[in-house]
């Protein structure tokens, strides 16, 4: 009886935590704080548990929402705080920068590398005062990193497990646009995970496009 009581308690506890988790997730999106950015639409916003293409049932990212035990980093809508509040909205929509200007290795290598501090400084050596106080604070942070000669410790948003090999160059050459996996990054003031990036989600696209679905294409 004691055992069954404990089990019941644990179940209740778990359910309570799960619902708490959903509320947390909504709360964690500090949209209110980030007002002032133009043209924000709720692209890639969390839409519910089961809206992730035709993934197999065991591929659903339900597990990822158990915050107590599991990883929000693997869930759609994961939106970590970055060391600098860099806005893609400003850079893409307002300044009309192409993705490839900063992430230039995406077409040349398996990795779409984050730009170096010097790449940021090509513009920001000139652009230091924007007139918007919130922005200037962030630019100041960049200048500090530059002066100290340090790298910026960005937080990874699209985390892939080590046993998956994803080749950016191959996908871009194959006609897959950046947005198909990363969402409309240009409309995100804070970058968030726009797709679960579960295997079922990958396979669906591979099937549609007639790409190889051999395990050895990605797992080795």
């Amino acid at each position: 009886m004691l055992a069954s009581f404990l089990q019941g308690l644990a179940l209740l506890f778990a359910v309570a935590l799960i619902s708490q988790d959903y509320r947390d997730l909504e709360k964690n999106t500090p949209l209110e704080k980030l007002t002032g950015y133009p043209n924000y639409k709720s692209v890639g916003k969390f839409k519910g548990l089961f809206q992730d293409g035709k993934a197999a049932p065991w591929d659903l990212h339900i597990i990822d929402y158990f915050k107590l035990f599991g990883a929000t980093p693997r869930a759609r809508g994961y939106r970590p705080n970055q060391p600098i509040k860099f806005s893609h909205v400003v850079h893409v929509q307002k300044l009309k920068l192409d993705c490839g200007y900063c992430h230039w290795t995406a077409t040349k290598s398996p990795y779409a590398a984050i730009p170096s501090v010097e790449t940021c400084m090509t513009c920001h050596s000139q652009v230091q005062q924007t007139g918007i106080e919130e922005w200037d604070v962030e630019i100041k942070k960049l200048l500090d990193y530059y002066q100290k000669g340090e790298q910026i410790p960005w937080v990874k948003v699209h985390v892939q497990p080590a046993y998956v090999k994803f080749n950016h160059e191959a996908h871009i050459r194959g006609g897959v646009g950046c947005h198909e996996c990363h969402g409309q990054v240009g409309e995100m003031p804070v970058v968030e995970r726009a797709s679960s990036m579960k295997m079922g989600w990958c396979i669906e696209c591979h099937r549609q496009r007639g790409a190889s679905i051999d395990c050895y294409s990605c797992h080795y």
Binding site: R74, Y111, S116
Partner: protein
């Protein structure tokens, strides 16, 4: 009742399972916050994720092989041979392959260190090593040089660039500079000087030789230039165009590949050589000097040959074969032949070559390669060096101490020393620990180097930035020189020094230097030397030490240890010696008769000791050695406690058992005693017997290769064509591999290459002893009795056979292993749940299970290949034909709108194989090299006729001439 379960209110088993499942599912996901650290500044030439290759030089031995160091994100992950380099043509040996582990060695000296002596509570001296600032260390070094009364510098053989600066420095400050190598070729050089008056080592060209006679020279393992020799030998061997005879007391790897292996009494090679010289002289009537002729006339062939224990008909047939051959070559002695007549043996061999008119054809002196090792002056200088003089300074570079005989041992002499010892070291090894001041030097992958060999200057350049606060030896010396001579303007940057060296020595301008560094080498103008016979007479003294009753100690070189230089590399320790099959541990080889006499059994633990040293190890019974001899492997490990990998095994350095005199390695009388056995036996293969099944094929040729072509193939395939699986409709590729056992020398370069490429963990001796070694490719050894009454050791590199009808596939409950469209037996790690059914069902036993989470030491993590997953605990793994390389090339080809070319995809084992025994390619492409080799008359598939596995790996039978 308290414990009565109310069925209505109790949660059911189903509920429990649900909650358990929820908990465990939640535990599956990982919760780590991952950071990205982008570059501060983008490098100009490197794109993150793509490899950058640097042409550099291997300074592990003096052969001067060119390397390509593969770097990713600024760190070296693998070294390959430089395909354009004329010496090694893209190939490497096991030692060269292990170079990244030397670079990322966890025990690198990270900054200048000063040793201070303290006394513990009992009054025993305790040493502590304290880090120093570079400038302090340099000023200490400078003051010691300034105030020194006498300076002696003992060094291993340095590359040409370093030695130029060292020698200049030594000249300026009146330093006695002596070079010494344990595997040296002093006796060969002295013999060349005596016979032809040429002060150089001979360069042998085996690519045209049709008969090779070797007196124990291990030219396929570590003798002179093993990678080049292996390639040239294999080129002739593949089609049975060369007859190879090896004469030695215990069969080496080279001896195992010989057509005729003659087991000679130790240190009597000289008598056989003299008899051969006499027989050939008689047949050829060569114009030898009168005194030599009269000396030869005095000798009786039967008399000489009786001392060697070899039947005389072998001598006569060998002499006939040599005389009939169009380009014969006779190689000198190996390590086992380094007795008191080592030099005379070389003289006799050179004279035989002269009689056979091989000099100028297969032997060449024009590249002027020299061996700078000089034991005689080392002996003299070290005996005279006064350790009690506080002003005397001894400088050491290279791990000299384990190479020195006990009577010269520095550690013994330095116990009560006043003199100071300064050392230049990469790792904190036995010799480094003797020093009062240790200056860290660069590994060859992070600095410049140059080697003049084979008519070429091979240039080394850094493939990555320095890991620690180390410097090149020339930088230290120039800085100290500047401080002592008050030169202010001279630049001490290693690149400037290197450029100066190239300008001074070879008159290159900066454009030529840049071009040479890109290619990795540049040719030197050769001066053609036509050696003339300069020797007037020679003779050997009366036979000493030929007493049969006394046991004789044989020094054995191994591909994994050489002279002990790779003692702190896990890859090399984990490698088993292909003959004794022992990894990590030391062993003692005995003939069955000798073992019976000594009352020892296989796998007994014994201690072997004499007045100068001892080793402990397992007894290995080896029928292919002379009865009455005891074989001990050289340089297995010093057991040094400051070294992560060396300390795992006990002291087992057989170098110390021998006394060196000039070029001879001789041991005084010794004893063998049984000791307490260790808990485990670090031997990796249970038996080398086939148990009556004809698993491994050896073809014995009567006359030449053409007889194989007329031979009718023995079709024993019972189940031909039976396949349980649906066949693929229109595949593009079917990957296949062929391994030519006729030219596989068991050198183990492929094994180390596989470790490096595929992030295979080093598991340590305890787990190896349990049979849980992780290597994806292993060299198996089988002993076969051939129809011509000879015993043949065959080395079989065994990797996953990628069976077409794989036994591992149907038993996997989670579909983690399956057959893919390209004929690969795929193993998907993230699907694997670790039932190990596949490994149990594998016929070849090539699947490896991760029983533990194997951690890499921190610095070695830098070597890991980012293209390959590091497998975690509970996952099965195996060879996958380097799928990462296949995918990379396939993508590159797709980008360029073509199909992968034949030979474009190279597996790691194939790329390193010095003989080219391993060929990989597409079996569906009729013109590919592998489709041709698998059709060979010698081809067969391992175990296929018994179990119908239809492997993608084809073995080509070993070849041997009937003798």
């Amino acid at each position: 009742m308290l414990f009565k379960i109310n069925k209505k209110s109790a949660s059911t088993r189903r509920d429990f399972l649900t909650s358990a499942a929820l908990f465990s599912l939640a535990g599956c996901a990982d919760n780590k916050l991952e950071l990205i650290h982008p570059h501060f500044k983008d490098p100009e030439y490197a794109i993150p994720g793509n490899s950058v290759y640097y042409a550099t030089l291997c300074t592990e031995c003096q052969a001067g092989c060119g390397l390509l160091a593969e770097t990713k994100e600024g760190r070296v992950i693998k070294v390959e041979g430089n395909p354009d380099h004329p010496i090694n043509k893209g190939k490497t040996c096991a030692l060269g392959q292990s170079l990244p582990q030397a670079h990322y060695d966890p025990n690198r000296v990270r900054e200048p260190i000063e040793k201070t002596q303290l006394n513990d509570s009992k009054g025993n001296p305790v040493f502590s090593f304290n880090p120093l600032q570079l400038n302090d260390a340099l000023s200490k070094f400078a003051t010691k040089i300034k105030n020194a009364s006498k300076i002696l510098w003992i060094s291993k053989e340095l590359d040409s660039f370093s030695s130029l600066y060292v020698q200049e420095f030594c000249k300026k400050f009146n330093i006695n500079f002596i070079t010494y190598e344990f595997f040296n070729y002093e006796h060969v050089q002295k013999a060349c000087k005596r016979v032809f008056d040429v002060d150089a080592l001979p360069e042998y060209d085996l690519s045209s030789a049709d008969i090779i006679v070797s007196f124990g020279a291990e030219f396929l393992e570590y003798w002179l230039n093993p990678v080049k020799f292996s390639r040239d030998w294999a080129f002739r061997r593949k089609n049975a165009q060369v007859f190879h005879c090896q004469i030695e007391p215990r069969q080496t790897l080279t001896g195992a590949k010989a057509d005729l292996w003659l087991c000679i009494k130790p240190h009597t090679e000289i008598y056989f050589a003299l008899a051969l010289l006499k027989a050939i002289q008689k047949l050829k009537n060569s114009p030898l000097p009168v005194e030599i002729l009269s000396y030869l006339n005095k000798l009786e062939i039967e008399d000489l040959i009786s001392k060697t224990d070899i039947p005389s008909h072998f001598l006569h047939s060998l002499a006939n074969k040599l005389v009939m051959a169009s380009s014969p070559v006779v190689l000198g002695g190996g390590v086992q032949a380094r007795g008191e007549h080592a030099e005379t043996l070389e003289v006799a061999c050179l004279l035989i070559n002269y009689c056979l008119e091989a000099v100028g054809k297969t032997i060449d002196f024009s590249s002027g390669v020299k061996c700078s090792s000089d034991f005689a002056s080392l002996d003299k200088a070290l005996s005279e060096f006064d350790f009690s003089d506080p002003k005397a300074v001894l400088i050491l570079s290279g791990n000299i101490e384990p190479w020195l005989p006990t009577r010269l041992s520095i550690s013994e002499k330095a116990k009560q020393k006043q003199a100071s010892i300064i050392g230049f070291f990469e790792i904190l090894n036995t010799t480094a620990k003797l020093c009062d001041l240790i200056l860290p030097v660069d590994n060859c992958l992070e600095t410049f180097s140059a080697q003049v060999r084979g008519g070429l200057v091979t240039l080394g350049q850094p493939a990555m930035l320095r890991l620690y606060k180390s410097r090149h030896i020339s930088e230290y010396l120039t800085a100290v020189q500047n401080a002592l001579l008050n030169n202010q303007d001279s630049n001490v940057d290693v690149y400037n020094l290197f450029e100066n060296y190239l300008r001074k020595s070879f008159n290159l301008n900066s454009q030529e230097i840049k071009k040479a560094q890109e290619v990795g080498f540049f040719p030197l103008a050769k001066s053609k030397i036509k050696p003339k016979l300069a020797i007037k007479s020679f003779s050997i003294g009366a036979a000493k030490d030929l007493d049969d009753a006394k046991l004789k100690l044989l020094p054995l070189g191994t591909v994994k240890a050489w002279d002990g230089r790779g003692e702190n590399r896990g890859w090399l320790h984990e490698l088993h010696d292909p003959i004794s099959l022992v990894s990590w541990d030391c062993w003692i080889e005995l003939h069955p008769k000798t073992a019976k006499k000594l009352r020892l059994k296989n796998k007994d633990y014994v201690k072997l000791y004499n007045s100068s040293g001892y080793i402990e190890g397992i007894v290995v019974i080896n029928p292919l050695m002379k009865p009455g001899t005891v074989g001990v492997p050289l340089g297995i490990t010093s057991g040094e406690e400051s070294l992560s990998f060396a300390k795992i095994v006990k002291w087992a350095n057989a170098n110390k058992l021998f006394d060196l005199k000039e070029s001879s390695l001789l041991a005084s009388s010794f004893k063998i005693e049984k000791t307490t056995p260790r808990k485990q036996v670090y031997q990796t293969q249970v038996t080398t017997d086939e148990h009556g099944r004809d698993l491994i094929k050896v073809k014995v040729l009567k006359s030449d290769y053409s007889e194989l072509k007329s031979e009718v193939k023995d079709e024993k395939h019972h189940h031909h064509g039976v396949n349980l699986y649906e066949q693929r409709k229109k595949p593009m590729f079917k990957w296949g591999l062929s391994v030519d056992l006729a030219i596989c020398t068991g050198c183990s370069a492929c094994v180390v290459a596989c470790y490096a490429e595929n992030n295979i963990p080093v598991v340590g001796p305890r787990i190896v002893a349990q049979g849980r070694r992780m290597s994806w490719i292993t060299i198996h050894q089988y002993t076969k009795n051939l129809p011509d009454n000879s015993v043949r050791r065959v080395f079989v590199p065994l990797m996953c056979q990628q069976c077409g009808n794989a036994p591992c596939e149907p038993v996997c409950p989670v579909y983690a292993t399956y057959h893919n469209e390209e004929g690969l037996n795929a193993m998907i790690y993230n699907r694997c749940v670790g039932t190990r059914y596949c490994a149990n069902n594998c016929v070849y036993k090539v699947r490896r299970f991760n029983w533990f989470e194997y951690e890499f030491p921190d610095s070695l993590k830098l070597q890991l290949n980012p293209d390959v997953t590091k497998r975690g605990v509970g996952v099965m793994e195996k060879c996958n034909f380097c799928i990462q390389r296949i995918n990379e090339v396939k993508f590159r080809a797709k980008k360029e709108g073509r199909l992968p070319r034949d030979g474009e995809i190279q597996t790691a084992c194939q790329q390193s194989c010095p003989t080219g025994a391993i060929v990989f390619g597409n079996l569906l492409d009729e013109s590919s090299l592998v489709s041709q080799t698998v059709k060979s008359e010698r081809g067969w598939k391992l175990l296929d006729d018994m179990v119908n596995t239809q492997p993608a790996v084809t073995y080509l039978a070993d070849l041997k001439f009937q003798t």
